[in-house]
Amino acid sequence: MDLLHNLALGFSTALNAQSLLYALIGCVLGTLIGVLPGLGPIATIAMLLPSIYALDATPALIMLSGIYYGAQYGGSTTAILINLPGESSSVVTAIDGYRMARQGRAGAALAAAGLGSFFAGCVGTVVIAAFAAPLTELAFQFGPAEYFSLMVLGLTGAVVLASGSLLKAIAMIVLGLVLGQVNTDVISGVPRYSFGIAELNDGIGFVAISMGVFGFAEIIVNLARPADHRTVFTKDVKGLWPTRQDFRDAFPAVLRGTALGSILGVLPGGGALLASFASYSLEKKSRGRADEVPFGEGNIRGVAGPESANNAGAQTSFIPMLTLGIPPNPVMALMIGAMTIKGIQPGPQVMTSNPELFWGLIASMWVGNLMLVILNLPLIGVWIRLLALPYRVLFPAIVGFCCLGLYTLNNSPFDVYLGALFGVLGYVFHKLNCEPAPLLLGFILGPMMEENLRRTLLLTNGEWQTFLTQPLSAAMLVAAALMVVFVMRPSLKQKRDIAFQDAP
């Protein structure tokens, strides 16, 4: 009964005019950036962070989460229509979706993606609502040692997910942790690595890093590539409704994708990307009807499964963020940043101290998913027209918004300069094949990890073995170690390399 009561509270928050408006803005923005290549949810949310100073916490978070899951919908549109995944989580959708579009079945592919995502979004929302409360209970039992080990587990998850070399991914995380040390020490109050620059006493701006690395650097990388000539299958988008046979084929795939995505989303380091890759390989392995189209040549299951999985994963990745205050991916890290800006201490207490925010956000996800189906299916024509906008017009606008976002952070040029610096660094990372997402996670978790580590040591008189003698903490460290051993298995390592080679 508690669940129903909580959901009722959530829906009463999510259905008021203000929440609906911001959910709509978030969904539209999310679809927009999902459709436009070169601008991901991380850069967009980072760009909008300063603007939420002017909003209340609940509508602000509703809008930001709308951007995140909206981008999952929008990303599939470009994947299907122009073989260019707008989001990394839509990479596998392009394989069969684009083939369907070329066969004149773009409508069916879009519908399978949209309806599958909607179904997955609904299930994901229920999963969050059902698991949030018990997990929060568990989180209250956590001491500093458990928190530290949990963060180690989360960071390990991020390493496992990163593409390319495992060693470099670990180094990028540690680099992020190191950059997080530029701040005023919480315990002694000593400013560290500030080089006498007053602005650095509060630490390097999280927004400056993400804008530099994901905004500016990405634009430089895109500009270095020759301009692509895309063919958009706009004329072929007719007959949106899939046939009865399509439904019969797609539905089991949607079910499997949703289940897989819901589980993988909760894992630290997980989320939409891993879920869509895993679902595609699952669909390839499971048998469909005898005379179905082979995979890679326009099989509807190859669209419905991964799209449902990435949306379910996007939803359930809110669970660790909401219940533990620990971000499983960079977007969730930004959400935590947004909460902190609004003066809400992230962690298990959010559910009791801000119940309208907590349940309102969950309910708004369902509302947002409904909006997205409407935005993406009947209004598909509007988004297709946007694809005609050339990149040479887009990128100056993106740079403009990023600069303005940085300037408005503190109404000072300092963050803009930092953003430029990290733009250069981001380009260096690209050239050196170092994936920047783990760095961002490490940067966010760094100060939290340090505090919990030092607290544990203080409480136990410097006994490092505490981390292994506390059962919960030990279990998490063992899980982290198992994850590393698991990905280092040669057979899996190969598969992982192949999976990530398909990514752009």
Binding site: S51, Y53, A54, S165, L167, K168, I170, A171, V174, L175, V178, Q181, D185, S188, V190, R192, Y193, F216, I219, I220, V221, L223, A224, P226, R392, V393, F395, P396, A397, V399, G400, F401, C402, C403, L404, L406, Y407, T408, N411, S412, P413, F414, V416, Y417, G419, A420, G423, V424, Y427, V428, K431, L432, C434, E450, L453, R454, L457, L458, G462, W464
Partner: protein, 165 residues
């Protein structure tokens, strides 16, 4: 000695090699910097405790990446750094720095169009009309959203000598 000659003639994986150098230098730098702060002991860790450990770990990882790169053959095409996109890099970075410098002095009305024009030069194609239109739309949109909509106190107009206080 063998490793040194190998690296200087680039028979190693360049990307891995320089990543290793980058991690090692940053890690060592932070570890050295941590010595300026009180380290404390494990029962009572000071402000330098965690950064010192992290810096050393990063430097160790960097050395591991570096050593591994030397064992990888030159046939590895993926390992080459390739051409650096100097023009987009320089133009975008300059434009962003310019934005930071000009905003407090010239205000949004001048800085935003300037940024759009300069940034547009980073691409292969530059079209006056498109750039002008983008500049106009961007300036109007940012003024409407940030100044009117969110009522932020941004510098909008250039600061003239007679006007400023």
């Amino acid at each position: 000695m063998k490793t040194a000659t190998r690296s200087s003639t680039w028979t190693c994986n360049q990307r891995e090699f320089w990543s290793g150098v980058l991690f090692t230098v940053i890690g060592a730098g932070f570890a050295a910097g941590a010595l300026n702060y009180k380290l404390g002991k494990s029962a009572e860790p000071g402000p330098g405790y965690f950064p010192l450990g992290l810096g050393l770990i990063l430097a160790a990882l960097g050395i591991a990446v570096l050593l591994r790169s030397l064992s990888r053959g030159p046939s590895d095409k993926q390992g080459r750094i390739g051409k650096v996109a100097w023009r987009p890099l320089a133009v975008v970075v300059f434009a962003v720095l310019m934005f930071g410098f000009a905003m407090p002095r010239l205000g949004l009305i001048v800085t935003m169009p300037l940024l759009v024009f300069i940034t547009s030069l980073a691409g292969d194609e530059f079209r006056w009309r498109e750039a002008a239109l983008t500049a106009l739309v961007m300036t109007a949109a940012s003024w409407l959203v940030f100044v009117v909509g969110l009522s932020m106190s941004l510098p909008v107009w250039p600061r003239l000598s007679g006007m400023g206080g």
